[in-house]
Amino acid sequence: MGWHEVLEGQLVQENDVVGVKVDGRDVALYRVEGRIYATSNICTHGDALLSEGWVDDGCIECPLHQGRFEIATGKGQGTPISVDLETYAVKEECGRIFVEMS
């Protein structure tokens, strides 16, 4: 519950993704156009970590089946994805990243 401090901001570079554990959950942190985003790190389609995937054009591509999700909204971008990705509130303060778990 509440905000969790997870990482130094500089560890998530532009157009990159980093996987972390927050409150026992797998969370992927992204930086797109300077902003930090957070989603579940587990692909809704297969047993794969999105933090091993490819960030491109505001989307994360799963390393296993190449399903794509919009990073900001978690929305699946067509087959093989039929379930959207959970997203989390995230903020960056004083060079630290915080994720909110409900």
Partner: protein
């Protein structure tokens, strides 16, 4: 009989490729009716888990491609297509019905090659469908034994999965290496060493001479006996292209298609394992029997059906993955190259990159998904990296690839 409206599409084959076209058309609001015809009695499902997760959990609902079919899609199950009438745009089914089509998509897939001298035994099976997987699963009980014939991806996946289920497993392969058609030789050797270190018996350069039915054993051509309560033959597949060939559509070990899945007949398309197409890396006409090809081709054909002037060919670099016990293998591009170099990271992940004519043409990875995803981007048309760069100590592959792509 009513004539098909301007855009009614009939898809023959309800595997991944066929389903994806139907789902993609439905999603994009395609104007015509969408009919999906398949000869199995299941909703469309994903085949890769059949040799892995499904064998351990037996959960059919977990492998369905969609919890429910979109209402726009009409699925006909247990229906085999017997003949295509191109002139009158009809598809003849095995229940004496005919379907009218305006666009026809052939996604009939492939069927396992058989070994005629063994196949009459009730202990010998192949693995392609969910029904096959159910039957195999029923035999993989702890203390039982499995002999897989053929050390390709499906055979090695099944054998490693069976081992985790407490089944005594062995693999026999006619060739002198594993995964002969799908990974570079050096990667095949690494995979072989890994499995042997895990006590999976792999007999290379051997065939099964006969089955000793009384003792539940297989006798190899060198006289060696292997426990084999169940024998699974995994020696490749044959394209189900007869339906197309009989209709006069150009086939040559697969239905010949272009980058939009177009066949030699107007308004007839083909996708997935049944097709033979120009391989974007090797330049040869090949059957690309992978999940990612079925996926990518289907999306390209669906886009073309929705809007032929706007559609772009898939442009996908062929790649596949194979989970074998605790190995996750991923391989992209061509398996042959002039030069190759390994990169082994401290956590045990391994990457083999191949170059042809100075360009990166192949990337194969063992337990190195993240680096694979990055390096795969360099295949073919891109500015490239050198073997020296790849093997430099303290390398950040992501940075290297990003620099190469933006150079």
């Amino acid at each position: 009989m009513i004539n098909a409206s301007q855009q009614d599409v009939v898809i023959v084959g309800a595997g991944l490729a066929g389903y994806n076209i139907a789902a993609s058309l439905a999603q994009q609001g395609y104007a015509g009716a969408i009919t999906l015809v398949g000869d199995e009695d299941w909703p469309p499902y994903d085949r890769p888990p059949l040799s892995k997760h499904y064998q351990t959990d037996g959960d059919e609902s977990a492998i369905l491609l969609a919890p429910e079919l979109p209402p726009r899609i009409k699925q006909l199950r247990r229906r085999k297509a017997l003949a295509i009438d191109i002139k009158n745009r009809l598809l003849q089914l095995d229940d004496d019905n005919e379907l009218c089509w305006n666009k026809l998509v052939i996604a009939t897939g492939a069927r396992p090659r058989l070994l005629p001298n063994l196949q009459q035994s009730s202990r010998v099976r192949t693995l392609r469908t969910l029904d096959d997987a159910q039957a195999i699963r029923a035999s993989l009980t702890p203390g039982s034994s499995l002999l897989v014939i053929g050390a390709g991806p499906i055979g090695l996946e099944l054998a490693t999965t069976a081992t985790t289920l407490g089944v005594q497993s062995a693999v026999v392969e006619m060739a002198s290496r594993v995964m002969g058609r799908s990974v570079p030789a050096a990667m095949a050797e690494a995979i072989l060493q890994h499995h042997r270190a895990q006590d999976l018996a792999i007999h290379l350069g051997r065939t099964v001479a006969y089955l000793d039915e009384n003792r539940g054993e297989a006798v190899l051509d060198n006289g060696y006996r292997v426990p084999a309560a169940l024998v699974v033959v995994g020696i490749g597949v044959l394209a189900n292209d007869e339906l197309a060939a009989h209709a006069g559509i150009a086939c040559d070990n697969g239905i010949l298609v272009d980058a939009f899945g177009r066949t030699s007949a107007p308004d007839v398309f083909a996708v997935g394992d049944v097709t033979r197409q120009r391989h974007p890396v090797s330049g040869r006409l090949e059957r690309i029997e992978t999940w990612s090809n079925a996926q990518g081709q289907a999306l390209a054909v669906a886009a073309f059906l929705c809007n032929p002037t706007q559609a772009r060919p898939s442009g996908l670099i062929p790649w596949f993955w194979s989970d074998q016990g605790d190995l996750r293998l991923q391989c992209a591009g061509d398996i042959r190259g002039d030069i190759e170099a390994w990169r082994i990271d401290p956590s045990g992940g391994r990457i083999l990159v191949q170059w042809t004519g100075g360009r990166v043409t192949g990337v194969a990875a063992l337990n190195a998904s993240r680096d694979f995803v990055q390096l795969k981007r360099l295949i073919v048309d891109r500015p490239t990296i050198t073997p020296q760069q790849l093997t430099a100590p303290d390398l950040n592959i992501r940075t290297l690839v990003q620099q190469a792509l933006t150079a």
